[in-house]
Amino acid sequence: MGEEKIYDTVIIGAGMSGLAAGIRLAQYDKRVCILERHTVPGGLNSFYRQKGRNFDVGLHAMTNYAAKGTRSGPLSRLLRHLRLSWDELGLIPQLGSGIAFPGVTLEFSNQFELLESQIAEKFPAQIDGFRKMVASLVDYDQLGLGTSGGSAQEFVRSFLSDPLLVNMLFCPIFFYGGARESDMEFGQFRIMFRSIFLEGFARPYEGVRHILTRLLKKFKTLGGELRLHTSVKQIVTQSGSASKLILEDGTEIRAKQFLSSAGWRETMRLCGLEESEKAVAPGRLAFVETISVLDRDPKRLGHRKTILFFNDSESMTYKKPDSLIDLRSGVICSPNNFDYGKPLGEGQIRITALANFDRWAQLDPEHYHLEKLRCYDRLIGSAVRFVPDFRGNIIETDMFTPLTVTRYTGKDAGAIYGAPEKKYDGLTPLRNLYVCGTDQGMVGIVGAIVSGITIANRYLLAK
């Protein structure tokens, strides 16, 4: 038999949620191992290097910004739970963002007063309703398990009567965390609203690498084990429990408890639990992103916005498009436009838009390549209706499609925000298998970290 190691917990996926859970467990001397299919950690928020340049995947900005010394809120909570000091994350606040619809732009920053004054100026008839809505949203605790259901659209429309303002406020919230078409669960909306508008955006100078490096260092210092390029083929079950994992190379791994951040359907499939897999509808919302490296800082072209959400009509459609991509709306992000106090180096502009996974999946390799080039041009063409035309300054390009997401993260249908229905309690039909990450609850970097911490605290540290 040899000396087979039995872990206290094995975690599937070294994304933000898996790493956070791993740190919590290792902190309390649990024998913990994280398995990651990709060759680099990060999952949906990762990084790569191409032709001598560093690129981030996922992260445009971290939400939930709070200044040093802030005691409440999700950011300070997660720092405490992971024993990180504020300075370690190296968060630099945004310069300022905006939401651009035809004829009207709302600016917002990490000072909530800016958005409030913009609404007072541009939607004077709505400002009282807006203030009342914000007051009713303010008090909640993101770390609590469970959330209140109901429709966010209904909630917002009960305070605001101008559909244009409603659509403008939903635009960033959809793009930064909408797992459901056209609406959002109220509890999720409350968290997203706070994270974007009341707290705001920040980014470390080195991007997502910096955050991942800190988390990894912490995990390894505490004795945690990470195996990269290690895919799980099967979760073997025995009388209502998970007994072991079988890896793609045939290796078996045993643990007392298992935590999966692979996604609900993906995890149930590994267990061979077809009915449980089908019980949760798959996510439908996928995205493309273009990356343009510029020969200068975008500020020198007159583009100072950190993130600009755009939509080219008064109505807003947040749905899986019928075509490869939906050019009508999107997100324009420049990592240069944070308050670093020193230049970032080359300019970069990233543009994100809704996409249809199936359409991309149907293309043969040659057409896939051609459509990527075409969609790159069309998406940039759509975006420069809202920002200075930077097309003459592009020196390098890259693009990801929903297929790219699936290839590197294993997430079905490139659905970066996961299933429309979340499994807030993190429980599965198997008594020693839990889920964390996108399908458990919150999305985004902070949401994912909170997810990992919450599930680890609730189930895996208790014993």
């Binding site: 309390y28 040093k68 409440s72 909570r77 024993r83 605790d141 770390l143 540290l461």
Partner: protein, 83 residues
């Protein structure tokens, strides 16, 4: 352990959990929640740290004893008497 020794150990745990706080100012008779905005999850950390460092088990029904430094010391003193 004596009460002052336990107090030092608790401060050590607290400064691990919330390193940016100033513990010189900590008032023993005011709750941690009020002074350090600690929530129930931070309380879990205190319990887990005590278990890890002193090998003592604190049952969930006793968590309310850990509300302030004063009540924590009163509660822990007999448990840590021979440690």
């Amino acid at each position: 352990m004596t009460k002052p020794e336990i107090r030092t150990a608790i401060i050590d745990i607290l400064s691990d959990i919330a390193p940016d706080e100033d513990y010189a100012q900590l008032k023993d008779d005011v709750s941690f929640r009020e002074q350090l905005s600690m929530d129930s999850m931070d309380m879990l950390d205190i319990v887990l740290e005590l278990r890890k460092r002193f090998k003592i088990q604190i049952p969930e029904e006793d968590y309310p004893h850990l509300v302030s430094m004063e009540s924590t010391l009163d509660y822990l003193e007999p448990l840590l008497a021979d440690k």
